[in-house]
């Protein structure tokens, strides 16, 4: 039995400049339009705040990964050098904390960076076997693309949104069907 694939219909506004895009976002939000996301060729500062996305918690994740790494490395070194096979080396204590600083630090950095990057990639669906959802291929080149899901805006007429987009600097307004997740 083939399942009927449902799609969402999106309005795609295409802009030439980051400031025009941000201006349009403010105007559309004032008119009560719910925006899906914006697609830009480079990171536009504060764009996520205008679109109402929450601040990322990745830095906290990185701290937790790093702390785990540091504790693991310090414990492991103390176990190896102090408990499992103690040896007198240069007259030092079996557990000589200054000697353990470099490896603890390096391992903490390793865990924090790998852990954070892996979290970022997985939570954003950035994986090699996935296919990119592109509203307009030019958004990786020189266009700033604003996507509006019509399903989120049932109360506002489509023509009204198109008009708002055009009035606020959109060069083109296209429609795009994207499969539901």
């Amino acid at each position: 039995m083939t399942k009927h694939e449902e799609t969402h219909k999106f309005l795609v506004g295409i802009f030439n400049d980051e400031d025009i895009l941000i201006g349009a976002i403010k105007k559309l939000q004032a008119a009560g339009v719910k925006l899906h996301d914006a697609y830009t060729p480079y990171p536009v500062h504060h764009l996520d705040e205008y679109l109402g996305f929450k601040r990322s918690r990745l830095s906290k994740a990185a701290f937790l990964f790093g702390a785990t790494g540091a504790i693991l490395a310090a414990t492991f070194q103390s176990y190896v050098m102090g408990i499992d096979w103690p040896m007198i080396i240069g007259g030092k204590d079996f557990i000589a904390p200054p000697s353990f600083v470099p490896v603890t630090f390096e391992f903490a950095v390793l865990c924090a960076s790998l852990g954070m990057v892996a979290t970022f990639l997985v939570s954003n669906g950035l994986l090699p076997w996935k296919k990119a959802v592109m509203f307009d291929p030019r958004s990786t080149d020189d266009k700033f693309v604003l996507a509006i899901n019509l399903a989120d805006n049932k109360k506002i007429e489509e023509a009204k949104i198109v008009e708002l987009l055009k009035a606020n600097g959109a060069e083109e307004v296209n429609t795009k069907e994207i499969k539901k997740k």
Binding site: L47, F53, K92
Partner: protein
């Protein structure tokens, strides 16, 4: 929006638009190989081939193929290792420390510098494997459970710290570099016409679509990675210097080593970045992106770190006398006036005297002078490591065991191997991946280009003929 003072020189010239940036940088990736690229690749493969032969001899017959003897047990191997690790400091320094200091000029050079870092650290690692003599037992340097009742590695040893430092640095550098590549690979994917290229760049770009949500998180990742990499970059050469500083060999047993090594590493790394970027800029015609301003900024860092290195040399010499330790004093007098005087004075000339030319603006902005000095600096930095390692060892406490170290052709061949490997990797990178960070350059385009995109578009709409804002005669 960010504000850039109008007295700052623009970082992107010739009135480039966003589309121009994409086109200029993707062109090299999409076009057929340039004949000069093929020639350069042939030469590096030749070096790699010859080096592979001597590497085979090193591994098959052992390190007796080198010029080592019972007095000098470390020579070219560790010299080359420290030299390459030092070179491998520029990339992450540029992308991490300059990111934290908000130096926008890093955007045009960070990609290639990071790639160079990775290849340099791999070359350094190859000397670690070589000097083990039995590279198939390299895993013994890791704390793995084993059949000897779990005889672990010695965590008091700086050589073990080094294993962790170098491998962490390599891993984090690769991750940092690749994270930067993902948006640009998506740009290439969207432009690719050939389905195979589209598939490969598609897989490599991890389904990136540049959504605002992803970009915001991506920027957070970049910032935290930069924050983590900054102490990492400083720790790596610090730990390399511990290999020497924690021993009791006169000439090595010095507390000044960590900052002195880190400054030297940045010094040689920037020199190598300049050598490579000046060639890339010329061959790929990237004068609009790598401007004289970029070159001047890098030269200023070379001047600063070169002078720090110079002060470190003088301090070492002074302390050798002031400490009153006769072995230490002898070691330093022997360095400057003993049988290896030529290595010492090459080091002094190349590292301390030559960067002083960069006090002059005309020298900092002269491409030929910069290119020549970037090579001189790396020759000097190689001699620095040779002087530290060999001259401290060759005349030890017992005069009857005093000897000289002379390299064999296998020593030289293994060094050539690392050059072949480094340049082969770099040329492959320069052909198949964007050599400049497209997304980051676009991000500074509006605030720091001449003339700005908006002005240009307005002029085009108004039918005004554009004149390049830079003066080609100054090149």
């Amino acid at each position: 929006m960010q504000y850039t003072s109008p007295i700052r020189e623009p970082l992107v010239l010739q009135g480039k638009t966003y589309a121009d940036v994409t086109e200029d940088i993707c062109r090299q990736v999409e076009a057929a190989p340039n004949p000069r690229w093929l020639g350069a690749m042939f030469l590096s493969l030749l070096a790699l081939g010859w080096g592979s032969y001597t590497l085979y001899r090193t591994w098959w017959y052992g390190i007796g193929e080198w010029g080592l003897n019972k007095t000098v047990g470390w020579a070219w191997d560790i010299t080359n290792f420290v030299w390459w690790v030092g070179i491998g400091h520029a990339g992450t320094l540029i992308s991490a420390i300059l990111l934290l200091f908000r130096q926008k000029w890093r955007t045009s050079i960070n990609r290639a510098a990071e790639a160079m870092t990775i290849f340099a650290v791999l070359c350094a690692g190859s000397f670690i494997l070589m000097h083990m003599g039995r590279p198939w037992l390299a895993h013994w340097a890791l704390p793995l459970p084993n059949t000897y009742g779990s005889l672990w590695v010695n965590f008091n040893s700086p050589l073990v710290w080094d294993v962790f430092a170098i491998s962490t640095y390599l891993t984090v550098s690769i991750v940092f570099w690749y994270m930067g590549l993902i948006p640009d690979l998506a740009t290439i994917r969207e432009r690719a016409k050939n389905p195979i290229a589209r598939f490969i760049y598609g897989a490599m770009s991890f389904a990136w679509n540049g959504s605002a949500k992803t970009w915001a998180r991506y920027e957070m990742v970049a910032l935290v990675l930069a924050g983590l990499s900054t102490p990492l970059v400083l720790s790596v050469h610090t730990i390399v210097s511990f290999d020497f500083a924690t021993s009791v060999i006169p000439g090595w047993h010095t507390t000044i080593f960590p900052p002195y090594f880190v400054a030297g590493a940045i010094f040689s790394g920037f020199a190598m970045v300049l050598t490579l970027m000046l060639i890339t800029r010329h061959v790929y015609k990237l004068q609009a992106y790598i401007t004289l301003e970029h070159i001047e900024s890098m030269n200023k860092i070379i001047l600063l770190t070169g002078s720090i290195v110079g002060i470190a040399y003088l301090t070492e010499f002074f302390i050798a006398w002031y400490s009153g330790v006769e072995y230490e004093s002898y070691c330093f007098i022997n360095r400057a006036f003993g049988p290896y005087w030529w290595a010492y004075w090459s080091m002094m000339t190349c590292n301390v005297i030559s960067p002083q030319f960069f006090w002059f603006r005309s020298m900092r902005r002269n491409i030929y002078v910069t290119f020549a000095l970037s090579i001189v600096v790396n020759i000097g930095m190689w001699f620095e490591r040779f002087v530290i390692i060999v001259t401290s060892l060759h005349r030890d406490y017992v005069p009857s065991s005093w000897t000289m170290f002379w390299p064999t052709y296998v020593d030289v061949g293994d060094y050539i191997f690392s050059f072949g490997f480094f340049f082969t990797c770099f040329f492959l990178f320069a052909k198949f991946l964007p050599v400049i960070n497209i997304a980051e350059v676009k991000a500074i385009l509006k605030s720091s280009s001449a003339p700005s995109v908006i002005e240009k578009e307005e002029k085009v709409k108004a039918g005004v003929k554009l004149t390049p804002s830079y003066n080609p005669k100054s090149e």
